[in-house]
């Protein structure tokens, strides 16, 4: 009978992402049977055991040098057939959100998107935001459950001393399994974490007034604490920051430990994208700006005065 939890563990050029450790630790705490991991493509899997995975399934081959839906779906289906888990967890990343529904349709399994909390109630119960975080719902998959989880939902405990048995799986995947081919892979700024996975974010709004000022004020301030720069839609639509930086209902939904909003009013669509941030700092010269109702710390002042001072203080830490 199906039992246990299999964690689809993503890696970035061979380095396992911290979202995988977060999910393995959570899977262990759910107490639903053995926890295993699956890694597709060549990666250093040695740390997975120390977070509680007892088995690591690896699928290797030329077809996995970059992500394609076809090759990964076939690989995961083969590992699921072998491991026979009750639940498969993965990060709600661009990759996870492409892969899990495809896999769900192939296996006839229930898929849950972007869970932010998981419980064991005799079976997996997932809680997830809907209406862009304005409401929550409880989802119960029947049978095999494929669940993507929003990064940073649980945090990562300290690694233990466990180690996992590595089992190589041959999924019989070849280039022919993907009708989509990657022509080019452009990596812009690999040193900066993706917004959806970022631990710290510094965002600027319309009030930043130009792309030059965004680059001169928001980016360096973000860099001073290793944060990812973000923006409101107004700033993006005005061309101050690229589309990929937009936070909110029609941008990225983010979940960092620290979110700093500079000159952002706090429109409902922006709040929808960042309201689950653990700590929110708002800098706005209007004391009545709606963002202050949601901020952990509010600073009523001019961002052009605050930002350089803040950067200096943070760099001095």
């Amino acid at each position: 009978m199906a039992s246990g939890i299999l964690v689809f563990s993503e890696h970035d050029g061979g380095k396992i992402k911290k979202t995988a450790f977060e999910l393995i630790a959570k899977a262990v705490s759910l107490n639903m049977g053995p926890v295993s991991a699956v890694v597709v493509g060549n990666a250093d899997t040695s740390a997975l055991g120390s977070y509680g995975a007892t088995t690591v399934y690896t699928v290797n081959g030329d077809a996995f040098s970059s992500y394609t839906t076809g090759s990964y779906t076939k690989a995961l289906a083969a590992v699921i057939a072998k491991a026979d888990p009750a639940v498969v967890l993965g990060a709600a990343s661009a990759l996870g959100k492409d892969l899990f529904p495809r896999l769900g349709a192939r296996l006839g399994a229930g898929v849950v998107t972007e869970a932010t909390e998981l419980d064991n109630d005799g079976g997996l119960v997932a809680h997830r935001p809907v209406y862009a975080g304005k409401a929550m719902v409880t989802a119960k998959p029947l049978g095999l459950a494929l669940v993507t989880v929003r990064p940073n939902s649980f945090g990562i405990p300290a690694a233990g001393s466990g180690s996992a048995e590595v089992v190589a799986v041959d999924a019989g995947v070849s280039a022919a399994d993907s009708k989509v081919v990657i022509v080019e892979s452009k990596k812009s700024d690999a040193s900066v974490a993706d917004l959806t996975e970022a631990d710290r974010i510094v965002s600027g709004g319309r009030s930043i007034k130009s792309a030059d000022q965004y680059d001169a004020i928001i980016r360096p301030l973000a860099a001073s604490i290793g944060a990812t720069p973000g923006a409101s839609r107004a700033a993006v639509d005005a061309g101050y920051a690229p589309h990929s930086h937009q936070v909110g209902q029609t941008g990225k939904v983010v979940n960092p430990n620290l979110y700093v909003a500079l000159g952002i009013s706090g429109a409902i669509q922006h709040l929808a994208g960042m309201r689950t941030s653990k700590v929110i700092v708002a800098v706005n010269k209007d004391p009545d700006a709606p963002i202050f109702a949601h901020a952990s710390y509010g600073l009523v002042d001019d961002l052009f005065d605050v930002a350089p001072l803040l950067q200096r203080e943070l760099e001095a830490l």
């Binding site: 349709a105 304005k134 929550m136």
Partner: protein, 267 residues
């Protein structure tokens, strides 16, 4: 080549959400409905492809009740130059479908309508599932390209830019017979023109049932669902924060950094 665009009506993005008494969903009384904002990118892309004669025709497909017709008409009005057909998928048997059930219904309609390239939003902003497009692709054995911010179609293939996270953008090539989900940045959706709105008023919207689609009623709807959802509730309120006082910006900034380090412990 026929292009299909999926349209769903959702509460306007600035809606205040209230939960109904038995927690099965939201209170819809005061909701203003709109086309899902991501579907607008798909619609605009479809209209442009027909206007450029890259595609021959456009069909708008919406799974939903009669109340969704105003949104379908909005879509027809915007695409008036592309003379779109419109199909609404509606049957008592569809009620309570989970995303896989919805995908079965939509896949059957896509096939029946003769769609070659299916364009959809990357997700809807009500359920926020983002599952249906990939499921439709799998059920029809078509390639999928999701989260696309740039799309070019030429001949029997397409080139798409998709954001992979961590600043990585993959440029991919796919057969044009595919499912593409659209993200912000792809285009700037147009509004309906007045003549468009007038024409759309008279437009016919076909309604297809489970029988029209050749679907067993038992393969869709609540009975076929492999995920059940319930207990809708509002998210936990954030504890109220504090406004940092200080003689000047420098003093406030110093206090902020102290609080972030010593109280919130995030630095």
């Amino acid at each position: 080549m026929k292009i299909g665009v999926l349209l769903k009506q959702v509460p306007a993005s600035d809606s205040r959400i209230k939960i109904n008494g038995d927690q099965t969903g939201i209170v819809t009384d005061d909701i203003k409905w709109e086309i899902n904002p991501y579907d607008e990118f798909a619609l605009e892309a479809g209209i442009q492809l027909v206007e450029a004669k890259t595609a021959s025709s456009l069909v708008l497909i919406s799974l939903g009740g009669k109340d969704a017709e105003a949104r379908i008409k909005d879509g027809i009005a915007r695409g008036v130059k592309a003379k779109p057909e419109a199909i609404r998928l509606d049957d008592a048997a569809f009620v309570g479908s989970d995303p896989l059930g919805e995908a079965r219904i939509i896949a059957a309609a896509v096939k029946k309508a003769g769609v070659v390239l299916l364009l959809t939003g990357k997700q809807t902003i009500d359920d926020d599932n983002g599952q249906v497009p990939a499921m439709v692709a799998e059920l029809l054995d078509l390639p999928q390209v999701t989260f696309v911010e740039n799309l070019e179609v030429s001949g029997d293939s397409l080139i798409a830019h998709r954001a992979m996270g961590s600043g990585q953008v993959d440029v991919v090539k796919s057969p044009v017979n595919a499912v593409v989900t659209c993200d912000k940045g792809m285009n700037s959706p147009r509004f309906a023109s007045l003549p468009g709105i007038m024409k759309a008023k008279r437009a016919k919207i076909a309604v297809w049932s489970a029988a029209d689609l050749g679907l067993e009623a038992s393969s869709v709807g609540a009975g076929a669902a492999v995920v059940t959802e319930g207990a809708y509730r509002l998210p936990a309120e954030r504890p109220s924060g504090k406004i940092i006082e200080g003689a000047d910006a420098a003093a406030k900034v110093k206090e902020l950094v102290r609080l972030l380090r010593d109280e919130a412990k995030v630095l």
